[in-house]
Amino acid sequence: MSMPVTVVGSGASGVHFARTALALGHRVTMVDVGHQRPAPVLPEAGFIALRERLDNPAGYFLGTEFQGVVAPGHGEYYGFPPGKDYVFRTPAGFGFSARGFAPLFSFARGGLAEAWTGGCYPFSDDDLQDFPFDHAALAPFYGEVARRIGVTGVDDDLTRFMPVHDGLLPPLELDEHSAELLDGYRQQRHYFQKGLGCYVGRTRVATLSVPFGDRQECTYLGRCLWGCPREALYTPSITLRECLADPGFTYLPGLDVRHFRVDSERRVTAIEAVSLDDGSLREIPVERLVLAAGTLQSAGIVLRSVHAATGQVARLPGLMDNRQVLVPFVNLRRVGRRYRADRYQYHLVGLGLTAADPRAHVHGQLTTLKTALMHPIIQQLPFDLRTSLRIARAAHGALGVVNLNFHDTRREQNAVTLASEGGTLRVAVEYAPPADEPARLGDAVRRLRAALWRLGCIVPPGMAHIRPMGASVHYAGTFPMTRDPRPWSTDSGGRSRDFPNLWFADGSTFPSLPAKNLTFTLMANATRIAHRALAGG
């Protein structure tokens, strides 16, 4: 029997919930703000040709407002590409407050994962210890999602951190620098594993190495950082497009969902959304509501709903995010050697650092720099810019950055609530890192430095950058799946224990956060939740 389902949000979780529900024969209405990606510019041109053919290359690479320039003191090693500004564009009047956390919000078609780097890392049994199910329960859905989106990778030394799933495509071609680093590790594998607790292998990425359905494979244009013009790198808007082709799917863009209404049995009866066209309030009746707006925005909808119904301001503890540390390095053996721009630009090599508690392992993605803008790095060298530029030019093909990810756990003091600002209630986030964080970060960076040294690389002193909390955009934990019922929680199927016809399909339901990109698991879990929520008609 076909059931009507209303999904809020078109991010990784929302579209995979919707795609699954449609495949099961149900009717889906998706309510979304839905800012759209601009059309790709000169889609067949490689990076070098693009730079030469553009009338205004600075406008394309830096933005007409120069928002892609990383100013001194910013500390980041990547400027955010202007072509992806739409991902983080917010509706008029949107605001939040935050303490100890720098949150990012997305109102784009496809959500935050429109700007991801494609890392697909299944959670292992160790990662899922706090979840009310194990890896075996999630494994079929990793396979189901992989067959939808296309994931490339191999079974190698990193499999101990991320289980292999069905549907893996052959890996992408390695660039020369990444291949040399991987070879260096293989020649010293014993030392790395026994001496450093460090395992190195290929990353798994949602970028096509072969044609896949109606999508084209990567042809190594070198434009990954500015948005793949061929859609070889998967983004959720591709699945949204597939949903739009299904007659059972209704898409309502331009609507910012504010809150929902409940009846006397706490069943959700309708959602209220503000039209971005004219600011009017629109009421949409619902039978089953699925919140997939992202952890912070889903929390905001629930908090505003509670406030609208009771006048109370609730507090949702347990917010999590992955701390990230960027560690740049120079491969001394490659100084003075040329690099090829027509290579894949994101990470092709990954690493895992073991920990006494297997849940606390550290995951890293190693990106060799090719067409990334260099001014963020050049300005941080301790010389005048002319000298720094000469050094950077000689070392360009020798540069790389490791992005270390650290796990997080739910803690009482880290919460999402509402705060009044000028008479308007806005989402308020508060976060404090755990007391042992400096020691954990220091240990991981020390081991990474040692590993890189064995590969002929140095980490310039003072250049490791601890990103602010919120920067990784791996938010989770506000409505955790638990075995035992408790307020502000969900059952193992993502169903709210507070509102019986409400499901959470996004990261809100994660009871812990392993040290890896969660997006692939968001998709797999949303698929699992859809099967559970809609089973049996």
Partner: protein, 142 residues
């Protein structure tokens, strides 16, 4: 600043960074950046003095830049230079010149060593020129 002064400044800074004169496209982008970005004006007397010296020519700019990297890394001079570097690295013909080594590893290591020596010299001159002004300006806010 007048448009002419800004263009002159851009010309000197471009030669400092790349060794080449600024094209009209670079001049235009540099002026646009000054219209939209914050922090491009000197915040105190020390920064004004740095900028005045930097505008004298590429060699003076290198001295001011070397000193600013240590004494005012987030000041107006460094901000201007970093914005210009960002423009140059995406703009032909500078982009090609800036993004690949031009010799083999041995030659590049020699160039790095020579650049390091030039930086040391520029910094030494910078200390003599700017340290008194820096001390006279007193402690910086922020």
């Amino acid at each position: 600043m007048t448009a002419t002064e800004l263009a002159d400044e851009c010309g000197v800074f471009t030669r400092h960074i790349s060794g080449r004169p600024a094209t009209s496209r670079v001049l235009e982008q540099y002026a646009s950046a000054h219209r939209v970005l914050l922090g491009m004006e000197p915040g105190d007397g020390h920064e004004r003095w740095l900028l005045r010296v930097a505008r004298l020519g590429p060699a003076a700019c290198r001295v001011a830049d070397a000193w600013a990297r240590l004494a005012a890394p987030q000041g107006a001079l460094r901000r201007k230079l970093v914005v210009l570097l960002a423009i140059l690295e995406v703009t032909p013909p500078y982009a090609e010149q800036l993004d690949q080594p031009r010799g083999g590893p041995a030659l590049e290591w020699l160039r790095i060593a020579a650049s390091g020596l030039a930086f040391a010299g520029a910094l030494a001159i910078g200390v003599v020129l700017f340290l008194p002004a820096r001390l006279a300006a007193g402690p910086r806010a922020g």
